[in-house]
């Protein structure tokens, strides 16, 4: 293997000073060449640049961090399975976040958060050691102490998920759940459905109530009744299966669920009574979890724009780092409806949206 015979045992990494010596300038000038190139005379800049890539110089992040008091790292506390909102798609979010951060010259630093209610432990430690410049929070809980604590300390942070209780603190990015379920109802109504039920989580969870709200307003807009068309269940398949029964008994021809998990419970309930999801009763889920696409029939669901969420999180966080006193910014992103086989459309027949033959009897 032919290796370049130059640079005999470089003895450690290339430093700014070495580059400076080679380019015949002072270390400071090299630093300027990299950080404020417009300060240099073009020919000097060129000379320094050449030296930099001839020697393969890369600034040491540790030294930069020490000097500038900024690590260019963003902390993210990863929880095992919050079992709440968008847990099934957390890995996708993490990738999106990483990518957005990378593009801005930042990186994501993971730390393990214990299961259950979010605690301050990890945050405190990372901050004390000046390991990170800011945080991205997710899995915002009801009495989440993190936002207030970070705000009091003046630490930049951004939440994925708004604050549902108390007054708003800090910046956040969230997905408009109501808009998602609204779109689901629109879609179903366009297919001719009128008895559209909602299967949600127990009241009191911000995310769940938001999603219920979208269903409700869309129903009202279409002049459709909502009474007796709503049931609730914890995020568990069996519980959902049981909870949805009354809705089916009442003759619902379509069910909008607050999560894919609940939607799956709905599938089971339908099968139990010999009905076929999609054909007999339309079902729409929420989250576009990996499971949704592999079910049979594939589940129509509301997908969160995770890439956009990641981008916005990073954008807001950087803005907050730049100006700590800027007014808080809150971004609400539109989810998108992914139509699959559980809400069959017009391609089932040439005669337009077919009104499903409502099986009133179980």
């Amino acid at each position: 293997m032919p290796r370049t015979p130059r640079s005999p045992a470089p003895q450690g990494p290339v430093t700014l000073a070495m580059v400076a010596r080679r380019a015949g300038v002072s270390p400071q000038t090299v630093s300027n060449a990299l950080n404020s190139p417009d300060l240099l005379r073009p020919e000097t800049l060129e000379r320094v640049r050449r030296a930099v890539d001839e020697m393969g110089y890369r600034p040491s992040r540790a030294a930069q961090a020490l000097r500038t008091r900024s690590s260019k790292l963003i902390g993210y506390g990863i929880q095992p399975t919050p079992s709440g909102t968008a847990a099934p798609v957390m890995d996708r979010f993490l990738h999106a976040l990483s990518q957005a951060a990378d593009e801005a010259g930042y990186r994501i630093l993971l730390f393990a958060s214990p299961p259950g209610e979010p605690t301050l432990e990890g945050y405190e430690e990372l901050l004390g050691q000046h390991e990170v410049d800011g945080f991205v929070l997710s899995g915002t809980a009801r009495h989440d102490p993190r936002q207030a604590w970070l705000a009091k300390k003046g630490v930049p942070f951004v939440g994925f998920g708004r604050m549902w209780s108390g007054r708003q603190i800090g910046d956040w990015v969230d997905v408009d759940g109501a808009s998602g379920t609204d779109a689901a109802v629109e879609h179903l109504a366009a297919l001719g459905h009128r008895r559209i039920a909602f299967l949600g989580w127990p009241r009191g969870s911000g995310v769940g109530d938001d999603r219920a709200e979208g269903w409700q307003r869309a129903m009202r807009r279409h002049g459709l009744p909502t009474r007796g068309r709503r049931a609730q269940s914890v995020d568990d398949v069996d519980a959902a299966r049981t909870a949805v029964k009354p809705l089916l008994d009442a003759g619902a021809t379509a069910v909008v669920a607050a999560s894919d998990m609940l939607a799956l419970g709905c599938y089971h309930a339908l099968r139990e009574r010999g009905a076929v999801p999609g054909r007999d009763v339309a079902v729409v889920g929420f989250d576009d979890s990996p499971t949704a696409s592999i079910l049979s029939p594939a589940l129509s669901t509301v997908a969160q724009p995770l890439e956009a969420v990641g981008r916005e999180c990073v954008r807001l966080l950087l803005a907050r780092m730049t100006d700590a006193d800027a007014p808080p910014e809150r971004v609400l992103l539109e989810p998108s409806l992914v139509v699959r086989d559980s809400t069959p459309g017009t391609d089932a027949g040439p005669d337009g949206p077919k009104a499903p033959t409502a099986p009133d009897a179980p």
Copy 2:
């Protein structure tokens, strides 16, 4: 808001020198108190310790990194969805890894890896800037350049997943897939099954062949034929549904699949012919993806010990950092079979393992 009137504007963070002044010792002694406490006289140690927590001192990671040339960070390139091996459980692995790292005083630094074949880009950048002390690799591909490249540079790394082609490079931790499918066969045989089929990925993937191997050897051990009992499909539900048909036609009473996705294809194929998974034909998946537990019937599957994998990854990596020339260490961990409703056991009746009535005809 009542604030403590003490410490009037501490003006930046508490440093070693401040603690030293307060404790009436030199900075180095404070450093020793923290890093090699046994060097100090007990009373001095006590005095320094008191000063440390009175002032709430935390060493600056940036300064430590600069001086010790070690960032205490472990790099992990996160890919969107390698769609290969254990993709569905990557978030659990990440949490396990983070936790194990935290306990060892390290943290995980994420960087976004582009989809598809792993590239060296991100690794090169992190290394050049001395951002990380080592890497954890996952999603080892067939012609993966990363191991050889890192090894040549003398960078500590550990792979989650062994190397399937070429010669072994470096340390790795992996899960014994063969042992998992072997256990699945054992379990099925104990239930009375004899016509146990295998639905795997196309030959040539190391992970897939490994899982096939376990099935095969267990079958041989029981004197059961394997010819005509094996099919293959890419990791896609529909493809799997098609691929498994001949096996069912041939009268298989149980199917061991190389992934939960394939197992689900099997569910669909069974339903298509009016059979019920678990009751008519037993199915075992692999990976214990979130989907497995919520299917109906819930899918028996082989679970990877991700917490243990995370721990071992960190352990091997630290060992490698300590001694770069130690002989490579490879750890093969045992997966565990999670029995659910798709392989109903003896509780179906009091008369021991019941031989399923084999529905030879479709």
